[in-house]
Symmetry: C2
Amino acid sequence: MGKRNLYLNNTPVEEARIIYKNALKGRIKMECEEISTEKSLGRMTKEAVFAVCSSPMFNAAAMDGIAVIAERTKGASEREPLELKKQEDYIIVDTGDPVKYPYDAVIMAEDVIECGDGTVKILEAAAPWQHIRPVGEDIVAGEMLLSGMHKIRPIDIGVLFSGGITRIKVVKQPKVAIFPTGTEIIEPGTEPREGDILESNSRMFEAMVVSYGGAAHRFSPIEDDYKKIKEAVLNAVDHFDMVLINAGSSAGTEDYTVHILRELGEVLVHGVAIKPGKPVILAVVKEKPVIGLPGYPVSAYIGFENFVKPILAMFTGEHGYENNKEKAVLSKRLVSSLKHKEYIRVKVGEVDGRLVASPLSRGAGAAMSLVRADGFCVIDQNSEGVEAGETVTVELYRSLSEIRHTLVSIGSHDLILDLIGDFMSCNDPGIYMSSTHVGSMGGLMALKRGEAHMVPTHLLDEESGVYNLPYLARLFQEPMAVVKGVKRIQGLMVQKGNPFHIKGIEDLTKCRFVNRQRGAGTRVLFDYQLKRLNLDPSLIAGYDREASTHMAAAALVASNSADAAMGIFSAAKAMDLEFLPLGEEEYDFAVPVKYLDLPQMRSFLRVLKSEELHRRMDQIGGYQYDLAGEIWYL
Amino acid sequence: MGKRNLYLNNTPVEEARIIYKNALKGRIKMECEEISTEKSLGRMTKEAVFAVCSSPMFNAAAMDGIAVIAERTKGASEREPLELKKQEDYIIVDTGDPVKYPYDAVIMAEDVIECGDGTVKILEAAAPWQHIRPVGEDIVAGEMLLSGMHKIRPIDIGVLFSGGITRIKVVKQPKVAIFPTGTEIIEPGTEPREGDILESNSRMFEAMVVSYGGAAHRFSPIEDDYKKIKEAVLNAVDHFDMVLINAGSSAGTEDYTVHILRELGEVLVHGVAIKPGKPVILAVVKEKPVIGLPGYPVSAYIGFENFVKPILAMFTGEHGYENNKEKAVLSKRLVSSLKHKEYIRVKVGEVDGRLVASPLSRGAGAAMSLVRADGFCVIDQNSEGVEAGETVTVELYRSLSEIRHTLVSIGSHDLILDLIGDFMSCNDPGIYMSSTHVGSMGGLMALKRGEAHMVPTHLLDEESGVYNLPYLARLFQEPMAVVKGVKRIQGLMVQKGNPFHIKGIEDLTKCRFVNRQRGAGTRVLFDYQLKRLNLDPSLIAGYDREASTHMAAAALVASNSADAAMGIFSAAKAMDLEFLPLGEEEYDFAVPVKYLDLPQMRSFLRVLKSEELHRRMDQIGGYQYDLAGEIWYL
């Protein structure tokens, strides 16, 4: 099986981090550079900054009016107004003008009576220093404006300039080299050949390094060649403060990274008790941190967050990037192993005034689940899991305010759902839809548990032949509504040219089928049809193979990994497949009446009835939307 | 008095915003540009993004091992191992390698027994599609990756590249022209002449525009010249999306802005019921928003936040910049007028588990109070104020986690306090000191009210001649400690050459004095000395004039706005004044025993005892630190 490197350790996360940080202490120096103040936004002061001049730099009028000598205004009153002569007893000043000796008070314009010849009258004496901003009132020269290790904000820039600081010493951004490796890896934009993988992790790392205050330098992918990778690392440690190597950190045939790092320096940790993210390598080469990160996108992300971010902070002094932590109710039981700390992506919704966290796919390859998630629920290594209904702490990477303005939809998937969400956030900025696809029945169960505002559903009641309504009547006690959606065509998706000559469900015994998951409306419909035809599911190869959306099923057929699947017209069309219509079905939205008036629901209803959406449905084809947006109360 | 423009309206804030936004609706268009995905971090998608390829692009091995034809592995068991031939029955695959027809399952390397000649044995049949990531498992071509109006994060960049998106349509950043105006305004870096004011607001605006997603273009200051300002505005509206004019928005002699804007376009609002920030101008010139902002830094900041930021959002679609809002207990009574909505800067500390908001200076000129503040307490126009002890909502612009790691010091000021705070954040990143200067007695009162962790104090007990301890014994019931600080020299600060030949306090009757505020330890000492000399305060000109720190008092003497002040040696030295020592005093820190163990207090104590601090005190001079850091329990 070639030279495999099966010996990954399972060091606990915190221990790994301490081992590595200790090894780097004394090796990492926070460096300093001087830059011009106007470019310092978001940078960290390296040392305290002291004002070189005061603000105001002189005693200044705080009002528009006249500057006078207070002593000389004594005795002025309504009965005995006092006349003052221009340039002799007073001068005109505007706010901000200097007030110099012998003048020591300002009288507001409103309180001055002009006599026409430059002479004015006042009806009240001026107190010394009234309406004068004394020199240094805001900033005194020599005063500390900002302490060291302070992250510069716009207001700080204003004060720095007021205090005469035009150049400032800030913490230097660490230069981080990023090496994607792998013979199968190609640059996005080039035409992929079979087996190629588009390189994307390094681009994500680049953005993460920048977000966390570093300067990223990404190199082109290096093929799996011991010598080439070794040379690249050796060269990089001379020119960069930190080196990241992506992929090649697991235990596969071509995973050279750990061997190279052992040869060049010291590998302190290889393999951490974290899921996803286990095959992390923490090494030091020529006094520089070199980190190997796993290739799966989610593992890569979590590995970065746990091991690259804290090391970057040793260079930058940044401490403000912690995710917001909130308590939420867990919607589903989570089982976790004692072997690792586990990061579970969750969707978080505010439903009925409480935050609910719903776990998403746990696969390490599911980058889209990171995009769709609102945060993580972290299960400690010494925990075997959490029961549904328990309160958990969620590390949010979306703001609570966004979450509060999000319509939580859980249920069946249709392409139009994404379009609706898109139109909602475009038309009503600050309003969002979050949709999770678990099939119609899964959605209704989630709604019952209080995890969603709405369920897209297309469940056929076998007895009555009616869609959706009978299910809601059966399942819910509370007042429910059905927001009418679309009629759409269900059918069989087969490869172009229909090589297996499939004409209907009865022909599926001749080919490789791929089914939808249990609880999906499409599967309910399929089972209904099998029953009608009296066809034994075990005769259909692939009846137990499950895809979780129409598009995923269509993609399997398109890639010749299956020969037929059941699905909607729009998915077949999107994947350029042939489509054999079986019949129409009703795709609606189940909504508890109490949610109909939420702002995000109103935004949803507006979009559902909009011409803009209907036009898009016409373009895609296969939809009838005559009733879209009508509300039927049960 | 020249042509003054005294007629400012007092439009309520929300009304002003609605009037202006309505006027701009239809005039502001959110524009679009296409950029490369790798540069898209932090940008806003203009429209939904759909994947152009699937990920994985093919069925891929999810494990290192062998790819087999599931059908041919049937019957394998521990009793009857099955032999498979290389290239015929199986091929070797690493994680991520394609698995093509006829292969349809992967067996993990661990479960394969090598026989040496390329033949392997397996002990269990493979289920079809086991350990295979199906094509499109993560991303299906045609799937919506991101909706429109979505702010791009690092993980999104990863997914975009995986989905084959190398260029992306994002919302164009609005170009904002910023014009500082005023004849007295000079560029920082140039040598100021008398009456000059260093321009700083426009630099702050620049940074604010950038922070809120715009592209800022700052122009050099324009003098107060009607024609020049008019030309600049006319030219700018042709080339920029929005124009900001700073200063000249009040009602002074040279405040041309509003006249110019009336001539060029329409002024919708001039004067808003907001404090600070009243003289805002909201105008439209040639369909473009043109905003006049006040000159005082705090007014400028608040004007920007209330009127520029929401207009920028109309261009950018940004909605995620709201300040975090938290409930806090107000430490002091706040009186506000019904004439305006008031923004009061507050320090916020977490003391004894509750958040306490302490109001800072309310002056519009005090930019440093914005730097020192943690947030705003907003008092609505229809409220006359809030009582001490009431719960208020604070808009925080510092994170709650930073606030929780902050040592809250309220009391007497000394330069070393700033140095200690600086060393704390440099040595213990993530730990902060916030210090408010209200004098020793003011600090002790704040401590009693539960607003602080610590009070820097130098209060002489007249009867015993002992510093600090008698005050604590008298004022506090709870267990208190005194953390010993420094001995420092108090004396009179006079101008270089001592022109008034002041030898002691008795000579202050000959000159202009500036005193410290009531409750300041220095004032207590001064009053004690007057009493000893039997000197009537009313004989001293300026006894009632108050400066609130040593440095502020020294600055008034240095600028010849006063002839003498009482203060510490270090302040006199910093301002290059002559210093007549009057005696030593003890500057200590009063701390409730229960706070001695807080992490931020421990950081403080470490710094207080550190050589690094002692070296700095030696450099400044006038300090004795033999006991620094010793804890005396009462």
